[in-house]
Symmetry: C2
Subunit: 337 residues, 2 copies
């Protein structure tokens, strides 16, 4: 099998370990006969006035045109007067839902077995508004913004995801007992959407209780949908249950059909260029991208190859207690294909 | 041994299971020869205009006068135009630091061994300002307020706590990469206080990463200090590591030397009045109160009696997988004294 017309997709290798793990994805995709035409994009070295960020206009246009992409870690260069690369991508491309599946990898033991969670995070507003100011000296405030528009679209996405993926339950995570208006509006939108999905069990869970229950018994949850900051926190917590961000994929869903898969771990500058990085999160994100493109057969083949390589345990990178290099681990996956 | 002058302290039995677990504390304290003169306080049945809450002026005055108290769970009656009981207490009494120790109970197995964490939560401001409004239809905002005053006093408290309790490390938890001004001010205050404690290792940890590391390896942390909402979330997460809020004590520290120990679990109306409740969290909170009063000998005796009763496993309430009633469990503790 080989798809005849190549699939055009944007690739941001990112920095730090980004180029090495992106190389791993390219090799594995090739070994699986996925005919990709990667449109590689590199962040600029100067602030682009059109984006007020090191992201260039061309970077954004590439994703807008291809509608699909894969992104490695990007550390925002230190300095003032420009925006975080990740946030700029999310806002400029309207990446309104961030989907992060967290599932136990067979053969890689943590304290938790059979974790199978999907966190769906509102990705554009909430505590990430960037609106902050000093009221008087020693008193600062920041604004959390919740809109009906953004809450509805992420709630719609979450329920549709649950339905199309055979999930049974959606939990809306909130702190509406304290933030009655903001989180209250978010919940109202979830309530409204839930009514259209009577076959999906719907519940509301206060964030503190959710975190306690997640560490006690993650099997209580299935799909979780929530405002931006809670999603940031809970998706990392869930990743921790199965081994950390090095093992968990993510995909950002934007308007106009855009989908940008992303490894959300850091760029690990300390091990960059040393052939030590674990490419699993970016590989699994690549699998999410393939599923989005409906290349299900190749997606499942690659997924199995990654899972089996880790499960066998012969080739594992240092973060998983092994001694393999990135290239050895990648080769082992390719050999499984 | 028996202290001759009785110690006056406010007791809020609270509602739901509150009265039963408060009764357990009274019995255990008596068995340990702690000579208490409990000033029992009950929340009103109507809103007190002087507090704009079901908490009465007398309730607050009792704590102000006694300087020390113990509080069971209080569910805020539903309705409009009055404030949450818990929040009113925190704000009116200026209970600026909420200390929640989470440690593994010997003999009660969870996925984690040897957890020993102290979360110290700013308790008066941040996301709990209550300032929210609708900007236009479908757009609401809430204000997070961080002040130098509140941040300094909780940071001072955290480092002093670490020093006086032989702790080695304080981690300040934040999301200053996104909320640069608000969480930035909180961190600045922690930095400033940290300088006065060169013997204590000080670090800053982003909240999402903190949650991931807590579930992967809680031994990385010792004392954690943070703004209000992060404290709410992380203290529940930490409680989850050792079994839940039914097993973890807390104490609120106020200005003018006020200390109000508190079980932070819910009032469990479903099992109220059935002699099924686990009084451990309130008992351990009582122990914190005794330590605060420098009644260390009795505090340690009671603490050992609770721990040993749970460790032996013969008398455990239903939430811990046993079949004991509240009174049986309480009697078992008294028998250990
Ligand atoms: C790097 C940071 C701004 C980002 C966030 O807070 O969203 C990260 O934690 C993530 O989850 O993608
Ligand atoms: C009941 C609720 C308002 C409270 C809070 O959010 O602080 C509770 O979760 C707590 O931690 O004491």
């Amino acid at each position: 099998f080989s798809s005849t017309t190549p699939i055009k997709a944007t690739l941001f290798p990112g920095d730090g370990i980004g180029p090495e793990i992106a190389e791993s994805v390219k090799q594995v995709f090739t070994a699986a006969d996925v005919n990709m035409d990667w449109d590689e994009q590199f962040v600029g070295t100067e602030v682009d006035p059109r984006t007020n960020s090191f992201l260039t206009w061309e970077n954004l246009e590439s994703v807008r045109k291809n509608k699909v992409g894969l992104k490695g870690p990007m550390a925002t260069p230190i300095g003032k007067g420009h925006r975080s690369l990740n946030l700029t991508l999310r806002k400029e491309l309207n990446l309104y839902a961030n989907v992060r599946p967290c599932y136990s990898l067979p053969g890689y033991k943590t304290r938790y077995d059979d974790v199978d969670l999907i966190t769906i995070r509102e990705n554009t507003e909430g505590e990430y508004s960037g609106l902050e100011h000093q009221v008087v000296k020693g008193v600062v405030e920041s604004l959390k913004i919740i809109t009906r528009k953004a809450s509805m679209r992420v709630a719609e996405y979450a329920f549709l995801y649950a339905k199309t993926h055979g999930r049974k339950k959606v939990s809306a995570i909130h702190k509406a007992n304290i933030m009655q208006k903001t989180d209250g509006l978010f919940l109202q939108c979830c309530d409204e959407v839930a009514k259209k999905y009577p076959e999906i069990y719907y519940e509301k869970v206060v964030i503190d209780n959710c975190c306690m229950m997640l560490v006690k018994n993650p099997a209580l949850f299935d799909v979780l949908v929530m405002p931006n900051l809670y999603g940031d926190i809970i998706s990392d917590l869930c990743a921790g249950l199965v081994g950390g961000l090095g093992l968990t994929p993510s995909m950002n869903i934007g308007e106009d059909g855009i989908a940008l898969a992303e490894a959300v771990h850091g760029s690990a500058p300390d091990i960059a260029g040393k052939n030590l990085a674990n490419p699993t999160a970016l590989l699994l994100s690549g699998v999410m991208m393939l599923r989005h493109l409906k290349l299900n057969k190749q997606a499942e083949q690659i997924h199995s190859a990654i899972i089996n390589t880790i499960a066998e345990g012969k080739y594992r990178t240092a973060d998983l207690g092994g001694t393999s290099t990135t290239t050895d681990f990648t080769k082992a996956i390719c050999d499984h294909l």
